[in-house]
């Protein structure tokens, strides 16, 4: 009997589902080796099908997306119960990802923006989502939206992490290989190399020993020289504080690393570590001049916690201050 495998998505964009397809023809080898028992985005299975399975009968579940409503929380618990090896697939499940930036707001401020204030909105009756609605003797229910976006491991026990936005084909392939061969690293491992991206960057040799920057630029403001270290050109590249394994695809496309592979195992708070590295490069000892240089980074939370706010030490903006 082939091992049973499940895929599921929670709060995410769908890119992680596409990443599975990015395996291209190799996806056929995967399909040949495993029995996919649950994959709502591609195949018609229902929640009740999963509920009917014996506990622990799924060998591996690849769950992508953060957890930000009660339905996602329930599915995470259900799949955890049915699964032997649960993998947090991609930056959102691992660290909170882009949806994790919702932790700078809360349910009320997000709902007000989306259902009341957005200029692109047509909502003349001012309808807001509710968790329960009665109509004509019928009761309709919607999942409860949380104030705080959570990582998968803040909700259920996670066995392994596949980093990336989305995880790259090589990382996925290696993980599936490890699963099928049973040669798995210790529980809790991130299935990618535990060194910084600069280590595998093709521009590594052009990174100066000591970086002193007189200004920071956004990628849209400058022409980035394709042959030189991006950070050395004053464009914040988070490669120095980000795990490698992606093949430096963004840098190969002449764009800075934005940190989607998350931190290495030595770092507890990815954003704080990146901030520390970048800020100390400001080439001045004068308070006002440092301020001018760092003004080139207008949104530190958005830049340094782009993928990891829910996994950070503070997890979210203070509720009272939202």
């Amino acid at each position: 009997m082939k091992p049973k495998v499940a895929f599921y998505w929670c709060a995410s964009c769908g890119g992680c589902e596409e990443a599975v397809i990015d395996l291209a023809e190799k996806v056929l080898d995967v399909v040949a080796a495993v029995d996919i028992v649950f994959w709502p985005v591609a195949l018609d299975f229902k929640t009740k099908d999963v509920e009917a399975m014996a506990d622990g009968s799924i060998v591996a579940t690849f769950l992508n997306g953060a957890i930000r409503n009660s339905e996602q929380e329930e599915m995470a618990h259900l799949l955890r119960r049915k699964t032997q090896v649960l993998l947090a697939f991609g930056a959102c499940a691992q660290l909170g990802g882009i949806p994790g930036l919702g932790n700078l707001w809360n349910r009320d401020t997000i709902f007000n923006e989306v259902y009341r204030d957005s200029p692109a909105l047509v909502n003349p009756d001012g309808v807001f989502p509710v968790t329960e609605h009665r109509d004509n003797g019928h009761t309709l229910r919607l999942p409860k939206f949380f104030d705080t976006v959570l990582t998968l491991d803040q909700v259920v026990d996670v066995d392994y992490y596949l980093p990336g936005c989305p995880p790259t084909p090589n990382i996925i392939e290696q993980a599936i290989g490890a699963l099928l061969s049973g040669k798995l690293p210790p529980k809790g491992s991130v299935l990618a190399p535990d060194v910084a991206l600069c280590e595998e960057c093709s521009r590594r040799d052009t990174k100066p020993e000591k970086l002193a920057l007189e200004a920071f630029h956004r990628p849209s403001e400058v022409l980035i020289d394709e042959s030189k270290c991006i950070l050395a050109q004053g464009v914040p590249c988070l490669g120095a504080a980000t795990r490698s394994g992606c093949g430096a695809q963004c840098v190969e496309g002449n764009m800075p690393c934005t940190g989607c592979f998350g931190p290495t195992s030595r770092v507890r708070d990815a954003g704080a570590k990146s901030l520390s590295a970048i800020a100390s490069m400001a080439a001045s000892n004068d308070e006002a001049e440092i301020e001018r240089i760092l003004a080139g980074i207008p949104d530190p939370a958005g830049m340094f916690y782009r993928y990891s706010l829910p996994a950070s030490r503070l997890r979210r903006k203070r509720q009272e201050a939202v």
Binding site: L150, G271, A272, E287, L294, P300, A301, E320
Partner: protein, 146 residues
Amino acid sequence: MPEPFEPRIVAFFCNWCTYLAADLAGTSRLRYAPNARVIRVMCSGRIDPQFVLDAFARGADGVLIGGCHPGDCHYQEGNYKCLRRFQLLKRLASQMGIEDDRLRLEWISASEGERVRTVMNDMVEKIRALGPLGRRKEVEEEAVVA
């Protein structure tokens, strides 16, 4: 009855200047607010922004960083690195809803015991007015109930 709020401050003092100043304040028998837990580090340049956020996450109401005056760093430029990180960290903290007065950087030399007293008393008063940061409770509750 709930206990009155006593601000809890984590103070990172550099080994060569501010820690000695705090020592001097002690040997001079200066009295000041006892609200800080002082952590001695070799240099203010050693203070990783992770330490500061960790302190807030674990229940500190304020974080005070003390280093040598500009130009006086025992390691030449550790305090400048601290200053650069501090500026950006301060803006990040503000985005996370942490008020300005809760995170403070002071240059205090080994001879300025009096300055330790002034800064400490001032910071405690300002944070007393702000009230508890309440981070630890918030983080713990989220972990359980989402």
